[in-house]
């Protein structure tokens, strides 16, 4: 608002713009809160399982506090006007995930499994690496618009990353989905998690240039704007690539995430509802088409439609050439035994889901121990992260930053939906990880990098405008012409 009633001495209401405060101290306070909650949970697990406060409490608390502190100092130094909520929310989710992974490490049943290894120390290390990458993004990415220069390079890089798991000798087939690559001596890496961010950069750069052609050149038909045939090209290419991922990597989640992210960004760039209609139709057709001949997808759909039947087949040891999944039913039982308020930390039996209890099904472990109330809180926290991302997009001044923020937060939200929906039986289960919470190095590191980019955009968006508005006194009065 440039206009205001300008009389401090009289009774009048004043309309003035508020300078955006940096909010760093709010962030610090929330961050302290976000570190104390997991420490409380950690103590609670120890008391429930062993009856004593766990010995590692101090080192765990200090470790998480140190990680959060490094993140905060990085933001304070390199992005002082950034959103105050993103870092504390992500820290809380990461901390809760660490506690749940540590709690599952304590389970006698999981310890008796043949290839058991303590997961919590590794996850803490991944978190430290992730926050390191987060701060590195803040240091080296001074302006997110630099990414715009690498639009087509990032398309190429993302395709390479997506195709890497298919390279013989490099790709690793784990539990039926080929989305990992194995690096000798280092373990496995999920390149799709990084491709998510890089693809968002490509989509943002591409749509920023092409959005006018996509939005304006269209015919109106039955209340929908139908795009011209040649403008359908990009969406068809992305759709085809995501179908290829689905066929060759047999990973429904990654495929859905990339196509969904593109449709979200296309909709935001063009404001045309028809793209959403097209996107939904195309993804439904693609999913049904692929599911008709791909056995791995068929077992997932079967486990989704008849979880109890699949569980019985799995328990009976039926060998008819198809891997029957017992996990879908186990996850539902975990939620059910949690009830409204949960069994309490350390008092559930989520270890019955075996190896996946701390990765793909960690949400079911939370559902059992924290109940509906806890799951709702966790989902609200995810929702708040997505909301802050969209808010950043609204506040961003440049179209590239807007689209990138929408793409990143939309992709993040879509991933949460796909994983939570899969675990809760709303959609077929996919092999994706719950951001920040689930065990997995690639996921944690990539999502911290995503947070870094969002914080960078939000810092640019909320930074007070440098140049003062030109004085209206200097402007010419326009003359009314009769």
């Amino acid at each position: 608002m440039s206009s205001s009633t300008n009389t401090p001495t009289h009774h009048t209401s004043t309309i003035g713009s508020i300078g955006t405060p940096s909010r760093r101290n709010t962030e610090l306070a929330l961050l302290v809160f976000a570190v104390l909650i997991p420490v409380f949970a950690y103590a609670n697990v120890g008391l429930a399982i062993d009856g004593t406060v766990p010995a590692g409490l101090l080192s765990y608390g200090l470790g998480l506090g140190l990680i959060a502190g490094v993140g905060h100092l990085g933001v304070r130094k390199f992005a002082p006007y950034a959103d105050p909520l993103l870092l504390p929310l992500a820290t809380l989710l990461n901390g809760l995930g660490l506690v749940m992974i540590w709690r599952l490490d304590q389970s006698k049943l999981l310890q008796s499994l043949p290839n058991f290894a303590q997961a919590a120390p590794r996850q803490l290390m991944y978190t430290a690496l992730g926050i390191g990458l987060f701060v590195a993004v803040l240091i080296f990415l001074k302006d997110h618009r630099v990414l715009q220069r690498y639009t087509y390079i990032s398309m190429f890089a993302a395709l390479v990353l997506l195709l890497l798991p298919l390279v013989p000798g490099l790709g690793a087939n784990i539990y039926g989905a080929k989305i990992w690559i194995s690096i000798p001596g280092l373990g496995t890496l999920q390149p799709g998690e990084f491709a998510k961010i890089i693809l968002a950069v490509f989509f943002a750069g591409y749509l920023m240039v092409k959005r006018d052609a996509l939005a304006l050149a269209s015919r109106r038909f039955m209340g929908l704007y139908l795009p011209r045939g040649r403008d359908l090209g990009p969406i068809l290419v992305v759709w085809f690539v995501s179908i290829l991922i689905l066929v060759f990597e047999t990973d429904l989640g990654t495929s859905l995430l990339f196509f969904g992210m593109f449709v979200i960004m296309l909709y935001v760039a063009t404001e045309r509802t028809s793209w959403i209609v097209f996107g939904l139709l195309m993804s439904a057709a693609g999913a049904v088409g692929v599911a008709s001949f791909e056995p791995h997808i068929q077992t997932r759909v079967q486990a989704w439609l008849n979880p109890l039947h699949e569980y019985k087949l799995s328990q009976a040891g039926t060998h008819d050439g198809i891997l029957h999944s017992e996990q879908a039913m186990q996850a539902l039982w975990a939620f059910g035994s949690g009830g409204t308020l949960g069994t309490g930390w350390g008092q559930g039996h989520s270890e019955l889901i075996r190896f996946a209890a701390n990765s793909d099904f960690i949400l079911a472990s939370f559902g059992e121990e924290l109940g509906l109330a806890g799951i709702m809180a966790i989902l609200v926290i995810y929702g708040l992260i997505a909301e802050r991302g969209i808010r950043t997009a609204l506040a961003a001044r440049d179209p590239f930053g807007k689209l990138l923020a929408v793409g990143l937060s939309g992709g993040f939200a879509l991933q949460v939906f796909v994983v939570a929906g899969g675990v809760m039986g709303l959609i077929p289960l996919t092999g994706m990880t719950m951001p920040f919470v689930a065990y997995g190095g690639s996921s944690v590191i990539a999502n911290w990098a995503l947070m870094g980019i969002l914080i960078r955009i939000s810092d640019t968006a909320r930074r007070p405008a440098p140049a003062p508005a030109p004085s209206p006194d200097a402007e010419m009065t326009q003359v009314v012409r009769p």
């Binding site: 608002m1 300008n6 009389t7 909650i37 609670n44 008391l47 909520l85 924290l370 006194d473 003359v479």
Partner: protein
């Protein structure tokens, strides 16, 4: 560990988790920045002697205007049916009100105007509204480019303003109300 302690911790944890969510939402609420409307001053501290003092020693930014007729301004407010506030009813400032306490109100694009008009068709110093000796409010055009209109007629001389009559300046319409 006793069952009671664990139950208390279980419920306590959920409470703390939700408390965090609520605090986060409160932070979002306080983060909705943009414009803020603040009510300046209050009815209590606006006693007449202060107003009179302000009338006799106008703030420096208003010294370029002709001194308004003073003294009778306060008396006019006691009359029945006298306007008490000026309301912007059309234009970008719609909804803005200024209490009438015997002071001169200047309108224009200039920054030191009482009501700063964000209107391309307004001049820097467009018009002023002041009370005469009887407390009757007068509107006067200050030589503006596009003129000031009371009802439908363009002003040429200082003219008394009836209650509720629209004063049009560019795209902005203001009126006096009780």
């Amino acid at each position: 560990m006793s069952e009671l302690t664990l139950t208390v911790m279980r419920l306590g944890f959920l409470a703390v988790l939700w408390l965090f969510v609520i605090v986060a939402v409160q932070v979002i609420r306080s983060d909705l920045f943009g414009t803020r409307v603040t009510q300046r001053g209050s009815r209590r501290d606006a006693s007449r002697p202060q107003q009179a003092a302000r009338q006799t020693t106008p703030p420096p930014q208003r010294q370029q205007q002709a001194a308004p007729p003073s003294g009778g301004g306060g008396g006019g407010r006691q009359r029945r049916g006298a306007p008490t506030k000026l309301v912007v009813s059309e234009g970008t400032l719609t909804g803005t009100t200024v209490a009438l306490q015997g002071q001169t109100i200047t309108l224009g694009r200039a920054h030191d105007s009482t009501i700063v008009l964000d209107d391309d068709y307004a001049s820097s110093r467009h018009a002023r509204i002041y009370p005469d000796r009887d407390g009757q409010w007068i509107v006067e055009d200050l030589g503006s480019t596009n003129g000031t209109y009371l009802d439908r007629s363009r002003l040429t001389t200082p003219t008394p303003v009836p209650l509720g009559a629209p004063i049009r300046i560019g795209k902005t319409v203001i009126e006096l109300r009780k």
